[in-house]
């Protein structure tokens, strides 16, 4: 089974209170040198069958009409190379 990832981020001109909250906390945690933080959503879709152009076009449509509200959000669709994404925390 292939994994397709849809990343949804607020458009650059839209206020991102979540990202701001993280950024404001950084100095307190002793982290410097991070100029900006934006926080968005990541959807991992496990797709049955081949991830061909047609399938990607459909996922693109899904992202555009459902996963993102394009009035305020941009999105990106990517096919994951390896299925193993997140590294388990030690």
């Amino acid at each position: 089974m292939a994994r397709v990832v849809v990343d949804v981020m607020l458009k650059p001109e839209i206020l991102d209170p979540q990202g701001q909250a993280v950024q404001r906390a950084l100095p307190r945690l002793g982290f410097e040198g991070i100029a900006d933080v934006r926080q968005g959503k990541r959807f991992e879709l496990e797709v049955e069958g081949p991830v061909d152009e047609a399938a990607l076009a459909r996922i693109h449509e899904l992202a555009e009409t459902f996963l993102a509200n394009t009035v305020i959000e941009d999105f990106a669709v990517k096919v994951e190379e390896s299925a193993q994404v997140a590294e388990p925390a030690k």
Binding site: P12, E13, I14, L15, D16, P17, A21, N69, V71, I72
Partner: protein
Amino acid sequence: MSLDTVDNASRTPDVDQPWKELGLKEDEYARVREILGRRPTGAELAMYSVMWSEHCSYKSSKVHLRQFGDKVPANDAMLVGIGENAGVVDVGEGYAVTFKVESHNHPSYVEPYQGAATGVGGIVRDIIAMGARPVAVVDPLRMGAADHPDTKRVLPGVVAGIGGYGNSLGLPNIGGELVFDACYQGNPLVNAGAIGVMRHEDIHLAKASGAGNKIVLYGARTGGDGIGGASILASETFDATKPSKRPAVQVGDPFQEKLLIECTLEAFAEKLVVGIQDLGAAGLSCATSELASNGSGGMRVELDDVPLRDSTLSPEEILMSESQERMCAVVEEAKVERFLAICEKWDVIATVVGEVTDGDRLEIFWHGEKIVDVDPRTVAHEGPVYERPYARPEWQDALQADDAGKLPRPADGAELRAQVLTLVGSPNQASKAWVTDQYDRFVQGNTVLAQPEDSGMVRINEETGLGVALASDGNGRFAKLDPYTGAQLALAEAYRNVAASGARPLAVSDCLNFGSPEDPAVMWQFAEAVRGIADGCLQLGTPVTGGNVSLYNQTGEAAIHPTPVVSVLGVIDDVARRTPMAFAQDGQLLYLLGDTREEFGGSAWSQAVHDHLGGLPPAVDLDREKLLGEILVSASRDGMIDAAHDLSDGGLIQAVTESCLRGGNGARLVVPDGLDAFTLLFSESAGRAVVSVPRSEELRFTDMCGARGLPVTRIGVVDGDAVEVQGEFTVPLDELRSAHEATIPALLA
């Protein structure tokens, strides 16, 4: 593009300007040129166009709204009336209360969560701008057909947004409405209201006076979101190289707003603020021009000092941006340092962006050049006023002639029973717990009554028990049949709801949702509704303290039902005397107050059972409403009744069902002489309530009603675990409960 300064504008009178794209009419643009004696600069054009938009200038509605000022009833409670951010009334013990309802309809359709959330944010800022601590919110909502797929997108998003914002602010949600009707399909109505409390001496106004006083902008940075959102403009016109289509929907930051509340109240408490204004529609254009025009002097603003989120914004965009969670305060120079320190304490960015001058001009500078030089009154208060043509539509007669009284009625007890279940389970009559369970109603620890009670009630003085109650109502179906009567029915219902809880109705705010003012039929509906409310308030003695108008709720030719939503604020000396709606005591007697007539036009029964809208709405008798209100308040004060519930849509059976379910007790009803069961159960005659009277109080209560001339009819007793209508049918409470409670969750699952 070089900067369009005032000098430049004087030198280049013939430059083509995008007034049309900005929504101005040709004669409006000509008037701007006439006022200025030259062409406006780009920045001035931006300010005039947003401030003269329908949303900000009330240009179509103004001529009608004047009635609220002309027909004010004598009422000592009014402290601040129409024209300020929100009206203020005296509730006694040195306390003042401010309240207002506003619409956020269009944004909530485009982006339900954020549109609704920022609607709550906006109304709460109006309340803090008066000097008050917000203590509660309400949310009258109208959605498209319950089973339409888009309703599944819009409603959950709107509810999550209202909850997400209000809950995060720590404001209990104590009431609202949810009505479904296909007429709202492309134009859902999201109205949000708020109540605030302050001491009399803390009332603040939006005005900039005292030359040398500083203008402090505080709260969120200004960004490129929502530029011209109020007038739904695109911003490309200013500079085609900019990112296109800046969205007119903003993302709200309730955390920032919570900090704004706390730091503003702390500044008020230390008496640091001369004048204050929230930034809502039209952003800085509105705040600066309103502050300046309400004050005694002029104002000078350095736009370069406005903290930005996006350094590429043009001055026009900064002036038009509707970034949320911003406020503007006028502070004496000597107190600025302390004001900034309080902002710093709350992690709120605050910047001095200008000062009050002793002239009478609003001057705005950018990079050292003057880009705005106007008389602020011409921007804020002297916008265009339209006398739009209006006419009673041709179809009105046919609609009124289609009498609901002719609809087939249930033939026997079994059919009556089935229709009762249909009614209480229909989307508009069903339990709204799915919605209200998503709102925090307990926060602040002062909520005495909240949904599903007749009104929301909060305690404002812990020592004495002084409290206020608020109810918001509207019925677009009634208003469609007859806008004048429909608007008065909304007023009467809200008034009755407040009184049923035991509070004395005091003042009114309204939110008028209508279609396009360019349609004479809509304009007639609007004019009639305003006249109805103004006449009604005069008669009831409750002044209109403020409100909001939302026009253009229309897709193509099809306007929404005219939907005036009316909020009534009441006061109660001791919340311990509040009257809940639950039938809590077995054996108590049920009395129906008021007259029941054959009135079914626009009724819930005609909708739920026959999908019909026609005829005339119920008649209104405001003197009767007043009397009923007095009786309900006296009975609560003297402990004569244990429960009361007003009768409105769905009639007696709806009210009895709700009170039984709330209390977990059944009722045995007897059809009184002169009425048939169907009319008793389903009529929507106004001016009625059902009360539960302890046997020991029966005589005292009926004597009081008799002496005051209020019809009072014994209709049954609280008893058992079913609702029984003698000789007709019995429905177990469990069956009623599942019919009533399952509908909305099933629709949204």
